[in-house]
Amino acid sequence: MYEAQDIDYAVPGRLLLDGADLTVRPGRVTALIGPNGAGKSTLLKVLTGELRPKQGRVLVDGQDIAALGPARLARRRAVLPQDVHVAFPFTVAEVVAIGLPQGERAPHRITGALEKVDLAGFRDRPYAALSGGEQQRVQIARALTQLASCDGPGYLLLDEPTSSLDLSHQLMVVELARQVARSGGGVAAVLHDLNLAAMIADEVVALKGGRIVARGTPAEVLTDALVGELYAVTARIGTAPQTGPFLLPQAMTRA
């Protein structure tokens, strides 16, 4: 289990997280939703270890991440940050290879990771020449490469993994996350698209104003009342018999 316990995080003049708890379980996908500024990305950054909370602690399989150190932590979890800018003219394969552990060189794994994100022929292209969506997929491939080197199935932490992706590749991310969970890994993803969250997640966690306001299955969290309150809209959530809750933007208005 990957747990954040009672996290407070503040920047001068503003409390960004206020007693937030989050548990990412092996074999499950957890989606973090909430309006802009709710603290989703901040919570994910605390989870990765990038931000040190003012109060509270983060444990990975029972160990405090602050005591683990960057190198050992990197063998427990892989991270996809928001928009990565790469300095210097690295190729796609070289960017993905940065996900490999120190000293390891495994060209076939890089090729494999690129195939998973539909970029099989791109390995020798300069990263800077790719489109935003292609670059995001390269970063996903890098995170998957790191995850594959983790001790055990590991954890995958994704910050808005679909922000630049077209429809087909948004579905690809859903599939990849489900795949990681099926093989025993734990996944946490910050998502803005509630339909995607409903598809990807076993558990949806809703944040507002730095607090967790709801958690549960997609059907439990994505209700008219809660979505309405969360985003200050009037929403009518539909339910598809096979696939659970869905939202039609056309059925919503700003409150």
């Binding site: 960057p70 892989a78 940050p81 190729t91």
Partner: protein, 379 residues
């Protein structure tokens, strides 16, 4: 590719490379590039030993070196004069040139990796100015210090190391302050970096001006040397004094290759893949300060080598630091020796300051770099 393969084998291998893209063509080209840089450095060293007011054939140079190392050759008859010129005059100068060039270019490559920007050259952003000011301070005030404390009397040993140590301290101070000033939340502002560099340059200039004002005639001659840069004062003692600092850079830099690659993705992403970012930056800054400081202490301020060499190599062999760092060292040494060769032959018997030659090559290149990459350098 081994020699002795026929054309058929070449074609088969080419096809195999395309069919199995695992063994990247870039990797092989990078290795070839590294070997070429090493060969270039060796060639430049031999040229530097052979060419001068007295031209000595390369086979004589090799024979002299071989004998000096205790080997015996039946080879050519060599006069004492040639032997003295090679061993006592040109060899220290050549080794110092290699060392200064290698240290400057490697420090440039490491610094650019840490700041994630190809403009972060120690010469350009004030690190070398800081080192030079500290070195000048040592020259002028170190002597006064010895005069004030005649009883203590600094041992000659410390005197020899004092200069590179002072330059190292100056470089370290500037680099550390630059890092604090220009980096916020893991992002380095290039504009701030360059403006801070201008500020440091101006401060160092003012400081040097004050010191020039109070310096004695002999000191003044030494000071002129700092502002221009030269390998003219090369001696074995100078070489020995600078080498521990250069060695520090070469010990610290190679293990940082992966961290520098990861830092290209930003400090957050580097941390995610397991890099201890703060530790890597501290080691890199110490290495850069040691290398840049020692280079300045040994040869004065020589600009643009740290900017031009890593940038060209990134275009040729790619930006991966595992090969970029050693290639920069070789190519930097070769470039500096080449520039020194120009400096001491173009107006012979007079000698042009080396800094002028590297600036003449480097400054237009710098402008070209700005024109070509305006958008992403400051974006």
């Amino acid at each position: 590719m081994d020699a002795g393969y026929g054309d058929g084998a070449v074609i088969i291998e080419a096809v195999a490379v395309r069919a199995v893209p695992e063994r990247g063509a870039r990797e092989r080209r990078a290795r070839l590039g590294l070997a070429a840089c090493a060969a270039l450095a060796l060639a430049a060293a031999l040229a530097s030993l052979a060419i001068g007011p007295v031209t000595i054939p390369v086979e004589h140079v090799l024979a002299i070196l071989w004998r000096a190392m205790g080997g015996s050759v039946a080879g050519p008859e060599i006069g004492l004069r040639e032997s003295v010129v090679v061993l006592d005059i040109r060899l220290p100068r050549t080794l110092l040139g290699l060392m200064v060039g290698a240290a400057t270019a490697t420090a440039g490559a490491v610094m650019q990796g840490v700041f994630r920007n190809p403009l972060a050259d120690p010469g350009l952003i004030g690190v070398s100015s800081g080192a030079a000011l500290a070195a000048v301070l040592w020259i002028v005030l170190g002597a006064s210090l010895a005069a004030v404390l005649p009883g203590v009397g600094l041992p000659a040993f410390i005197g020899e190391f004092g200069l590179p140590a002072a330059a190292f301290a100056g470089a370290l101070l500037v680099t550390a302050v630059l890092h604090v000033v220009a980096t916020r939340e893991g992002r380095t502002s290039v504009a701030t970096l360059l403006f801070a560099g201008i500020a440091f340059g101006a401060m160092a200039g003012a400081g040097t001006g004050v010191l020039v004002f109070i310096a004695s005639d002999q000191q003044l001659r030494d000071l002129t040397f700092w502002s221009m840069g030269s390998l003219g004062g090369a001696t074995w003692a100078k070489l020995m004094a600078a080498s521990p600092f250069v060695l520090l850079l070469f010990v610290l830099a190679p293990p940082l290759a992966r961290a520098l690659d990861a830092l290209a993705l930003g400090e957050a992403a580097a941390f995610h893949v397991g890099v201890d970012v703060e530790r890597a930056k501290r080691l890199a800054i110490a290495g850069v300060a040691a290398g840049a400081g020692a280079a300045v202490a040994a040869a004065g301020v020589i600009g643009f080598v740290g900017l031009v060499v890593p940038h060209l190599l990134r275009l040729l062999i790619g930006p991966g630091h595992r090969l970029l760092l050693p290639a920069s060292a070789f190519a930097g040494g070769a470039l500096l020796l080449g520039a020194d060769l120009v400096a001491r032959t173009i107006a012979a018997p007079a000698e042009l300051p080396l800094g002028i030659v590297t600036a003449a090559i480097g400054a237009p290149f710098f402008l070209w770099l700005l024109l070509r990459r305006r958008a992403d350098l400051f974006g």
